[in-house]
């Protein structure tokens, strides 16, 4: 199925606050997107007065794999070890939606033409919503990079934004995926090992607190996200249920006795409108709640990764200390051990300083994002409840007025 979107700022479900400071010397957005058979092509538009770029305004077309390549490049770069790397956008996934559309096409002959048209409408709206979300996720990723004073200066980032040709980064093959999977296992094992290492003292209360906090927070936000998803699904289910109910009421209306005709027709209309309202409740909860929780689940994982890197650096520092002591005792290769120890020390201190700043930014980003979304969620819920009440009351007045 084809889909296009002109992603202007109005369309964006901006559930994530990107840049508290606001700096316009590098502006990135996804100005267009096309969904083809099995991939999405994003048009990344950059506006910048930075001297590095050849032009002040330019666009390139990128696919999901290229975003992942960029993300991985940042993660693997030692220079950014002390920073929270913005989480990679999730892969565009239209499978479920496509399957449903296909099933609808295969047809259930018991449904009327109107019902079919409505269900098709619902599914198309769902497809469009997923499409818009994937665009937003990819855009937010780039915008966070552009807003970060250090990350925005990365050479790979410039290449990503400017290089007109395909970056030739194919998707990860099975070996690489497995490799990534194993790396994660090794990382967790390593982390467990480091923390149980004797003599490794967390000298800084701040980091001790952050570690405990992030561990628990990440698990709980993941839970909340999953359950918010289920609530949203239930609302969608309910909205879908109204379709056959409305259709059945309509056919009852056509063949009923006169005294009940109008009642049934009005009820049919009511359920059709309630369906639309219920659908909006579902999509608003999706955007303001589920998506926000999901994003901060990923962001908190990125923060955890940062803490792990710092811990690793601390362990390396400790090991270097031990090695230096040993070298001094044996009086062999003391200079090498000394310089290595100094390197580790500097690295650890550099990481700690930047990590502290990053974690505080994470907190303020998180708080302002939650605030914005919870307010918007409450306002939208109120809006829909008031609209439903009005609709129901009008119907009641009309029905009670019947002889």
């Amino acid at each position: 199925m084809e889909g296009r979107q002109e992603a202007g700022k109005e369309n964006k479900p901006s559930s994530i606050s990107v840049d508290p400071q606001g700096d316009s010397s590098l502006q990135v957005e996804i100005s267009d997107a096309v969904s083809e058979r099995d991939k999405v092509k994003f048009t990344v538009q950059t506006k910048s007065c930075l001297p590095h770029f050849a032009q002040t305004e330019f666009s390139v077309v990128r696919q999901h794999e290229e975003f992942i390549w960029l993300h991985d490049a940042y993660v693997e770069n030692e220079e950014y070890a002390g920073l929270i790397i913005p989480p990679a956008p999730p892969r565009p996934d239209f499978e479920a939606s496509r399957e449903k559309l296909q099933k609808l096409g295969e047809g259930d002959s018991s449904i009327t033409r109107e019902e079919f048209a409505k269900m098709k409408q619902e599914l198309e709206a769902e497809y469009l919503a997923i499409f818009k979300k994937t665009v937003a996720m990819h855009e937010v990723f780039l915008q966070r990079l552009a807003a970060h004073p250090t990350l925005r200066r990365d050479h790979n980032f410039f290449v990503f934004l400017e290089y007109g040709q395909d970056l030739s980064v194919r998707g990860k093959n099975r070996k690489e995926l497995l490799g990534g999977f194993l790396r994660n296992i090794v990382k967790s094992a390593d982390e467990a090992l480091i923390t149980s290492m004797s003599g490794l003292k967390e000298v800084d209360d701040f980091f001790e607190h952050e570690r405990t906090f992030l561990l628990e927070y990440h698990t709980r936000i993941r839970d909340a996200c999953l359950r918010a998803d289920r609530v949203m699904q239930s609302h969608k289910c309910l909205a879908d249920d109204y379709i056959p109910i409305s259709a059945a009421l309509s056919s009852l209306g056509t063949q009923e006795v006169n005294q009940l005709k109008t009642s049934f027709f009005k009820l049919a209309e009511l359920f059709e409108r309630l369906r639309k309202l219920e659908g909006r409740v579902a999509s608003d909860e999706d955007l303001k709640l589920s998506d926000m929780l999901r994003y901060y689940m990923r962001d908190s994982q990125a923060a955890k990764d940062l803490l792990y890197r710092r811990l690793r650096a601390l362990a390396d520092y400790e090991n270097a200390n031990k090695a230096l002591d040993k070298a001094r005792t044996r009086n062999r290769e003391v200079r090498t051990a000394e310089s290595n120890q100094q390197l580790c020390c500097r690295r650890f201190e550099r990481l700690s300083d930047s990590a502290k700043q990053e974690l505080m930014d994470f907190k303020s980003r998180r708080v302002s994002s939650f605030r914005k979304n919870l307010i918007e969620l409450a306002e939208l819920e109120l809006k829909h409840a008031k609209a439903s009440t009005l609709l129901l009351r009008n119907t009641l007045v009309a029905l009670k007025g019947e002889p």
């Binding site: 249920d241 009642s263 819920e381 109120l382």
Partner: protein, 407 residues
Amino acid sequence: MESKSISAPVIFDRSREEIEEEANGDVFDIEIGVSDPEKVGDGMNAYMAYRVTTKTSLSMFSKSEFSVKRRFSDFLGLHSKLASKYLHVGYIVPPAPEKSIVGMTKVKVGKEDSSSTEFVEKRRAALERYLQRTVKHPTLLQDPDLRQFLESSELPRAVNTQALSGAGILRMVNKAADAVNKMTIKMNESDAWFEEKQQQFENLDQQLRKLHASVEALVCHRKELSANTAAFAKSAAMLGNSEDHTALSRALSQLAEVEEKIDQLHQEQAFADFYMFSELLSDYIRLIAAVKGVFDHRMKCWQKWEDAQITLLKKRETEAKMMVANKPDKIQQAKNEIREWEAKVQQGERDFEQISKTIRKEVGRFEAKRVKDFKTVIIKYLESLVQTQQQLIKYWEAFLPEAKAIA
């Protein structure tokens, strides 16, 4: 040989009969309540006893308010008695609620969980609706068995309730219907009213079944929504506990509270969906089956009259033959039989006219009641939906300042 045109006579002007019944309305001052389900006994012999309370100002009852204890099989027994007396002469006898082996076994075995409580409540409500419908029927109200059911402190135990369940009666009705169809009755329906009505009820039945199925799905999904909301509320509370920014933490706890209240709302709405909307539809699906049964009885009645006419013809033929063959004693026998069958033909005609008249009245009364029922329930149901939305507004309005307070 006489050729008699065998056709149903057009006796009554169709609309007059129906209008008459609609105008009478329900002026019967009697209300029935079924309450206080109580488990009696233990193990597989246990049963639920329900309190049946009657409030009335009708003079036929000795008191204005009284109650008795009845068990489910008593209701089935009542229905079977009424059905056997009134169905075949054209009265639409309201069907009793369905038996449920699974549901009842859980209760007997003593499972004190929400599903058996729900089952008992569902049954209680259904029994109440059943009695209300039965007493609102002017003819059935006069029946001594019904009065005994409502008034007597002791009721002889109804036996063989297998055959007496609503489903059992319906099976009987359906079998009769099939038999009738198989007879390929070419009933010359010169009264189009009956054919029309039958078709209308057939269509109504189909539509109601479709609607009922979709409403059942709605009930199911609303219950799921309630459960999922409750689960989310818990996880939001946990998240609030973890959150180290004080104001955000408080807001998240508030969100959890709001979601918990909303889960309750959804549950209550699911009950309304079920008891008001879904049960109304399933009641009427079964009532319409009773209506169809009554139409089929009329067919059978017609068939009986038709058979009598055919037999009379044969007897006359026999008489003629005997006259030709000059057998005086056989002639006398033939004449006797002719008289017998003439009487049967007359009775057949009277019965047919009577059942046709009764059915017209009954359908008029039924439709008037149906319109009233549907209108009342629809309004009540919509009011429940309004209630839910108003509560939602209350909850979110209380939450909004909490969200804004996040500094």
